[in-house]
Symmetry: C2
Subunit: 279 residues, 2 copies
């Protein structure tokens, strides 16, 4: 029987194994400087931090997250799974507390402190993450400041849950944090309902989630119109008007990566594995 | 910096990620009942045992091996990495003792006891492994007896090193044990000399090793003539007379899996990672 941390690591591996996952690195597509093997190393490296997250008596989840990101970053591809780890960390803590459910993870979010927020900010020192410019009143809290922002966090008494709330309108991962992880739990349900290999299910659920909502990582790196257009194209794949592989080739070519949607699939895989999905 | 156990797990993942690896499951080829994702889960599950193997003050390596195999088996594909773990276990212990070299691993092999041999036999109870019938005088020591063979091991005072010696003429993994892991260290050297992605290097070195020597897993599951013919075909790929992908398709079709060669590539990847190969 796999531990919580093992399931979290396996979720990261299964996510990247699913193909075609238009726009993202998968088993059959990669970039010269961001390869499939970087995701393998990222998943292996993240496990120690995930183990801390899964331990109900472990360190604050901000620290566990930072450790997971530090381990993930021990490869040359850069940011492989930052967003996925930001979802997996509170989910692993909820699982460790024996309540992996929307209310269980809400309780984890509500119990976060300023110390957790500081861990989150420190995590940005381990790896370059594509983020949007913060709103004017949050300039001191630009995540790219890393630990330099910690005094401001303390001054404003901002918890990690609070930090996420301030980004929820622009970032799909933060939105999961504030809403009880609805898309992650929804993905888990879909993954369990389908047949076939788990990697194939992951690729299918990725397309469905992408069709449902524009990817915020695409919106940040390109713009909202591009993100909306990508979701339209995903809907066209689901109705059979477009070919998934052709779309995958095109988006990789254009460097359009729906990374937030992939993060949510990873979170869904973790929940599904914890709920008994067999490999 | 990755730990020894992390590098061992990553080696298993990189091995299966290399493609084309004619005859074996890889990133682009799989069987309906033995899929890429089974290898991912196998690698994740094996790590706890590998961690025990890497600890110089840990339990006997036979026990560490059994734990690694038990963890590996927690998926529905069956035997994914038994042979690779049999190579990685003593290599990880040698690394843990600070001497990952032919002489270092020879010392590990020489220090094995009957208790280690018992752990090795118990490992066969976790998963079905394709093995040859034992010679007439070794019927009581058929590995398929699992722990039922343990009294005979004690009666004959057989260490794990001794068990391997008795299979070295028929089994390529056992031969590594008796000869100081020459092909594993050789593979590590080749992996480090090449350019390109590590997964691509692993696929290339797989072909070279297969061209060098008939695969004993193919000889056991089919016959020696088939194993020799597969090595000839691998040589033809290296000289450009045959296409690697076409050969991969054909061997998968015919269910001819050069598994021992893949095991040695995994061992080589581990040594290379420990020696500083970057991902």
């Amino acid at each position: 029987m796999r531990s919580i941390a093992q399931n979290a690591e396996l979720a990261l591996l299964l996510e990247v194994a699913g193909t075609p996952k238009p726009g993202n690195v998968d088993r059959e597509r990669e970039y010269a400087d961001l390869r499939f093997e970087h995701f393998l190393a990222g998943a292996v490296g993240a496990r120690s931090g995930l183990k801390l997250a899964a331990d109900p008596d472990g360190p604050p989840i901000g620290e566990a997250f930072e450790r997971a990101v530090a381990g993930m970053s021990d490869q040359r591809g850069g940011n492989t799974q930052f967003g996925a780890l930001l979802l997996l960390t509170p989910l692993a803590r909820a699982a460790g507390r024996g309540n992996l459910s929307p209310s269980g993870v809400r309780a984890v979010v509500e119990s976060t402190t300023v110390t957790d927020a500081a861990g989150f900010y420190r995590a940005f020192e381990h790896v370059a993450v594509a983020v949007d410019d913060p709103p004017a009143d949050m300039d001191d809290l630009d995540v790219r400041r890393g630990s330099d922002a910690v005094p401001t966090l303390h001054a404003r008494g901002l918890t990690l849950g609070g930090v996420m709330e301030r980004s929820a309108d622009r970032d799909g991962v933060a939105r999961e944090w504030t809403e009880g992880f609805p898309r992650s739990f929804g993905a888990a349900e879909r993954l369990q309902e389908r047949d076939g290999s788990v990697a194939d299910r992951a690729a299918r659920v990725f397309l469905e989630l992408l069709a449902d909502e524009p990817d915020t990582f695409v919106a940040i790196n390109h713009d909202e119109a591009t993100a909306e257009r990508v979701s339209e194209r995903a809907r066209a794949v689901l109705t059979g008007e477009e070919d998934a592989d052709a779309l995958a080739e095109e988006l990789i070519e254009r460097e359009i990566n729906p990374g937030t949607t992939a993060d949510i699939v990873a979170a869904g895989l973790f929940v599904a594995l914890e709920e008994g999905l067999e490999i």
